[in-house]
Amino acid sequence: MKSLSFRWQLILFILLTCGVTLSLAFAGFYLYDLRQFNNDVQSRLENTQMLLLENLVPRLEQNPNDTDLHLSQLGVDGQIAAAAVYSAEGKLLARYVRVGMTEIIPPLPRVTRLLDVSQRGVLWTPISSGARPLGTLYLKAEQNEADRDRVSNLLRGSAIVFLVSALLAGAMAWRFQGRITEPITELARVSATVQRERDYNERVQTTASGEIGELIDSFNAMLDTIQSNTSELERARVAAEDAHEKIIQAHDQLEEANRTLEARVDDRTRLLAKAVKDAEEASKAKSSFLAKMSHELRTPLNAIIGYSEIMKEDAEDDGEARRAEDLDKVLNAARHLLGLINDVLDISKIEAGKMELFVETFDLTKLINEVIATASPLVSKKGNTLAIDCPGDIGAMQADATKLRQMLLNLLSNASKFTEKGTVTLKAVRHIEEDADYMELSVIDTGIGMTPEQLTRLFQAFSQADASTTSKYGGTGLGLAISKQFAQMMQGDITVTSTPGVGSTFTIRMPAKVLTKQPKVVNNTTNKLTRSPFPSANRPKILVIDDDKEIRTVIAELLSMSGYDVVEAASGQQGLEHASRFVPDLVLLDVMMPGIDGWTVLSKLQDNPKLTDVPVIVLSGVGDVEMAMSLGAASVLLKPVDASRLTAEIATQLSPLPKCYVLLVEDDADSRTLISRMLEREGWQFRAAINGNAALRTLKKSTPAMIVLDLKMPGMNGLELLEILGKNPIWVKIPVVIVTSMDITQEMRDVLTARTLGILRKGQFTREQLAAHIRPAVQACALAET
């Protein structure tokens, strides 16, 4: 059936229905006719029976066994084929068979009751007179020709009617099936075409109504949708191809730009490498010149001092007090000069990295007593009292005694210089804590004190609190810078707190046991490590680039302990490769490496758009800080790097930015610390950046509520940063306050006034003045956040 087309199926179906209906009609008709006929026969039989019974009953009443009944004459008509009469005992009394017919007269059935269901055309009738049974009458009707013809005629007629009506039905089906099948076959054809040729323009043309009409309408609508979707798809594909082409073009341009950039980077790197080399050579030359000069200067100076002493002694012996006094002045001047020369020699040695430590174990009380003996004439010179606060059991210390002595003398000499008729106290405390054992040596004076601005420049070489200080108090201003370096060399530091007009406190803090051989990273397990700001499941990846395997191992261990994943690179080349491949969250970079050095690596990382936002912490020597900053380092840590300081810095660089934070952009470490403390005290979240480049990296991560900006910085300076901020629609809205020590021209002031909330002069503003600038911005931001 399935292989038959729908139209043939339909025709067949109609014909089948027709056939079944006609057959049923015939069957009914035939049955009805048959029944009519039987009824006729039956009534005829019953008539004959009545007649016979009328004749038979009187005869049998007279003689129940009368055999001469003359059945043939008893009006038996031609329709009776056979007749018989049985006595009450069942004996056959008379029989009749129509001439020319062969009929068997059956015996009287035993059970008369069955007589009712007698054979068709056969009638068994009991003969009785009143209640007395006389016998039984048997009659059988004749099946005549006409009866037989009736059935065959009926069948023939039926066949003819069947055929005619089948032909008629077929013709009509043929004629009308088109109305039903045509739309469906058309639908089938169209869908087959669509499927085959994917041509969605085809439509089913039809006038069909009803469900098929609806079906076709839906099918057409579906084709419409598909067609529009397909054309949209096509348009999209064309657009995508266009876009792809454009991307390819852009990619080509980008590659071209990259090539140009790479060439420029290479050029710059070469220039930079040369500049670094030149600078290093110049620095070495300067140091060796200074060392040599110092030596050359010292030899004659020693002679001046020595002979002056001899002459002074002689004069004193000869009682020539006046001459002795004059010679004393010569001596003092010469000694001062010697001190200056020694300072210059020290600082040049430190800068050249040639300053050595001579660590020995000594008794701190003894050293302090020696220092006091030397310093007391100096302290008492301006009417000051020298107080000592040192527990007798402070114990032994392991450090460079000569340098510690020099540091203490420097602090005491400074204190007495700036104090008049006051007290200079030398205080020593030993702190023994669970994880640290260190000494704190403080020199406290009641002198003129310093402003915060003066404090920021205090430890810088060749810079004193004030230019006028030199003329008034003398000195090269190198003493504190040297002392601070000494302290740092011995894993310690010098800090200062001061209030103008009240006095200053300088504190040397260093381990009671200074390690002799200093690795670049002090992996002191007693140091506190700052853990990764992320949960352990999400360990940030840090790339450590250092040619020294030992240091790499130490750092890797340290960082791994602190919750980071570490990738190590043994050279600049490998560092660059690893950086591109792994795209770390942070890079730790050593500067001094053979082959591609740290500077080249840093500038290449900065020039790679994929890596430019990865913060780089540079591990460097004293002289390299500016270079590192100008090349875009996120932070610079001086060697030897303390483990706790390193991990704290990494955590700061990686930790997510707080909301409504203040971004402090300041290159000078001391100034940064000072302003940071002010912000901290106000309870504001903040993040410090060492220059414009680092600030941009932070800005890209999250927009701050406020920017506190220094102007003069290596690398990207404050004005350049402002210009970039001005070009960004979001950044341009960030309020900025300038904190600077620069002399600002009127022109610059006009630019800054238009763009910033105000300009604060370094060292001349109070915490409240700074806070007043920042507070509204932070509050507005907090309000916007809620």
Binding site: H295, Y307, E356
Partner: protein
């Protein structure tokens, strides 16, 4: 009075230091290089030696080692005189066998203290 051997190549330094020490009553013997210093130590048997470290012919460290290797004179205390801030020189001096050191330029009171201390520790035999 104690006899001091001063080994110093610089004429002015030698002159100044010897004059000032003589003034304080010490007997001075002068050597201008390390070799001469060792020879004079043997012949003069001083009570104390002031040894400059950067010396011609034989430097101060080698001279000290030779003195300290000689049983006859190894008991003589030696004070090394080293240039300012040269810690490594000082350490080398102590390793070579010097009993103490002082830095140049000499601060006489401090040097005198050191001389007296050493003479107390190693009293002159005569």
């Amino acid at each position: 009075m104690p006899k001091i051997l001063l080994v110093e190549d610089n004429e002015m330094n030698r002159d100044m230091l010897s004059r000032r020490l003589e003034k304080r009553g010490y007997t001075l013997v002068i050597a201008v290089d390390g070799g001469q210093g060792v020879a004079l130590a043997k012949s003069e048997l001083p009570d104390l030696i002031l040894m400059d470290m950067s010396l011609p012919v034989l430097d101060g460290w080698d001279a000290t080692r030779q003195v300290k290797a000689d049983d006859a004179i190894k008991g003589i205390p030696i004070i090394a005189l080293t240039a300012h801030a040269m810690e490594s020189d000082r350490q080398k001096a102590l390793e070579a066998g010097c009993d103490d050191f002082d830095t140049k330029p000499v601060e006489l009171p401090r040097l005198l203290t050191k001389i007296e201390e050493l003479l107390k520790k190693f009293p002159p035999k005569a």
